[in-house]
Amino acid sequence: MKRTAWTILFTFAAALGAFAQSNEAMDQILAANALQCGKAAYLLLVASDNIAEDAGDARSFDLLRELGWIGNKATAETPITISEYAYVLMRAFGMKGGLLYSLLPGPRYAFRELVDRGVIQGRVDPADRLSGQRAMHILGRVLDIEEAGG
């Protein structure tokens, strides 16, 4: 488990190209039992090159809000649900979804898409909070898919 986390951490750091600077942020993400929207925004927007790594949680969350990828009720401190995380992930990486996702883009069909592709695995409810470790695992699988050419 630890080894997997570190592999993903290195994959992530390589994607950022700056292991040292992101180390502290990564530690906080990995330690989170319920990942907050701000931290999820930072993780996904930096990994997808949508924001600079020195942006921080607050700025990342503001960008997420501006882009309209997160609900109006959410704050940077609100724990993110796995379906919301799936939606931000798909938007951040420009992933194509199914027919219903194309017609009605949102967390529901993003979650379905990632379950169908095997990115989200195991017993899971769309409304579940997710730990930082799980968020990293999910991100790692998407990076693998991107590397394999979608």
């Binding site: 199914g98 027919l99 219903l100 009605l104 379905r112 409810d125």
Partner: protein, 407 residues
């Protein structure tokens, strides 16, 4: 009607109304065939489903399906073309919640899908209980279920003369009242990259316990062995042997089924796959009796005779030229193992030939997105006219297409 509209609105809006996953699967099956009794097939089904973990150790899954068929069959609504059925209703307990634990067990009850280790014995839905224990790499599995509340079309349980009579009786909707159970042990990579499994299954006709007086009672027990795994890079094999013993009235009978499949994958050649499958199911020869599974399956896609008293060979070649498209061609050859007459139109009851006929099928599956899939199959069966079939036996054909949309 208002409730259905509300449900559709909720599904389509994508709004996270419940703390659970839910949806609607719509599928349409259309087909045309040369069969006199049902030349046109039409089935439309809407399945509403709901799934949620309940705390760390419980999962609840439920689905309800509404079905329309062109040909009216017995249903909840009498002889209407419409039917409604509980597809799945399952409560599962899983301990511990962490799947990486060296010992995990799960226990569930309700209505669920289940397949016996011997796929020739039972595949379908059950009302009952099931349990699974994973200890290290080994898996132990147990299931106990009742078939008598399942639509008879689903189980196709035709073990006795009473079962056949009930199946043909349009006033009867449910499958025969039978209790079935199975215990299985699966040992992955036991030796030389081969998985080994064995299981014991039982089936009891409960008619004897009810006031209904059956003309015959058939109880059966099955023992199954499966060995399968990699034979080398991109080559896989699977062998199975099913042995059965049955009780019919005062007498006992013995039956057997077996199969061997070898598959070759060629990922560099449009992800091509080539499979050779040889299957056997006993007939009334020597000390063996005709194979009687709990749920019947037919010999081929077109050849709609029950898989029993048969030796068949199938060569299946498929390839995936596009990520979303798989297409294939399949050829099968059928022989009978005894000289008993088959229950089939145009069969020559005086024939002593073993060769029954040949079938060729074409199929394609197109999945342009995760929520939409379209599949089409077509096939033709050429009966051995002048041998085991009458000289004027005509070729049979079937074309069908299915579209499935998950909302």
């Amino acid at each position: 009607m208002k409730r259905i509209t509300l449900f559709l609105c909720l599904v389509l809006s994508g709004a996270p109304v419940f703390a659970a996953d839910f949806g609607l699967v719509l599928d349409n099956l259309s087909g045309w065939s040369s069969f006199d009794e049902e030349p046109q097939l039409q089935r439309d089904r809407a399945t509403a489903w709901f799934s949620t973990p309940l705390g760390a150790n419980f999962d609840l899954h439920a689905s309800l399906r509404l079905e329309y068929r062109l040909t009216p069959e017995p249903s909840w609504f009498g002889s209407s073309s419409f039917g409604i059925d509980v597809g799945r209703l399952e409560l599962m307990a899983i301990y511990p919640g962490n799947p990486d634990h060296p010992l995990t067990w799960s226990f569930g009850g309700g209505r669920f899908n289940y397949a016996f280790l011997g796929e020739n014995i039972f595949t379908g839905r059950l009302d009952g209980f099931k349990a699974k224990i994973d200890v290290g790499r080994a898996t132990y599995r147990f299931a106990l279920g009742y078939l008598g509340l399942m639509p008879k079309e689903d189980t196709r349980t035709l073990l006795s003369a009473d079962d056949v009579a009930d199946y043909n009786d349009e006033a009867i909707f449910f499958a025969p009242p039978r209790l079935i159970a199975e215990a299985t042990i699966m040992l992955p990579e036991l030796f030389a990259r081969q998985d080994f499994s064995f299981g014991f299954g039982s089936q009891f006709d409960l008619r004897g316990w009810t006031s209904e007086a059956p003309s015959e009672l058939v109880h059966t027990q099955y023992l199954s062995f499966v060995l399968g795994g990699s034979l080398g890079r991109n080559i896989f094999q699977k062998a199975h042997l099913d042995m059965g013993i049955g009780e019919l009235g005062e007498g006992l009978f013995v039956m057997a089924a077996a199969g061997y499949a070898v598959s070759l994958f060629m990922p560099e050649l449009a992800r091509a796959r080539l499979e050779l499958l040889i299957e056997y199911a006993s007939g009334n020869t020597g000390f063996l009796s005709i194979w009687r599974p709990i749920s019947e399956r037919q010999m081929g896609f077109v050849y709609n005779v029950s898989f029993a008293d048969c030796l068949s060979g199938t060569l299946d070649a498929s390839f995936t030229p596009l990520k979303s498209l798989t297409a294939g061609v399949k050829g099968s050859l059928f022989l009978r193992t005894s000289m008993e007459a088959l229950q089939d139109t145009s069969f020559d009851t005086a024939s002593t030939a073993s060769y029954l006929g040949t079938e060729a099928d074409l199929y394609a599956i197109f999945k342009p997105s995760s929520d939409l899939s379209i599949s089409a199959s077509s096939g033709v069966f050429l009966p051995a006219a002048g041998l085991s079939y009458l000289p004027d036996a005509s070729p049979r054909w079937l074309v069908s297409a299915t579209v499935t949309l998950s909302l």
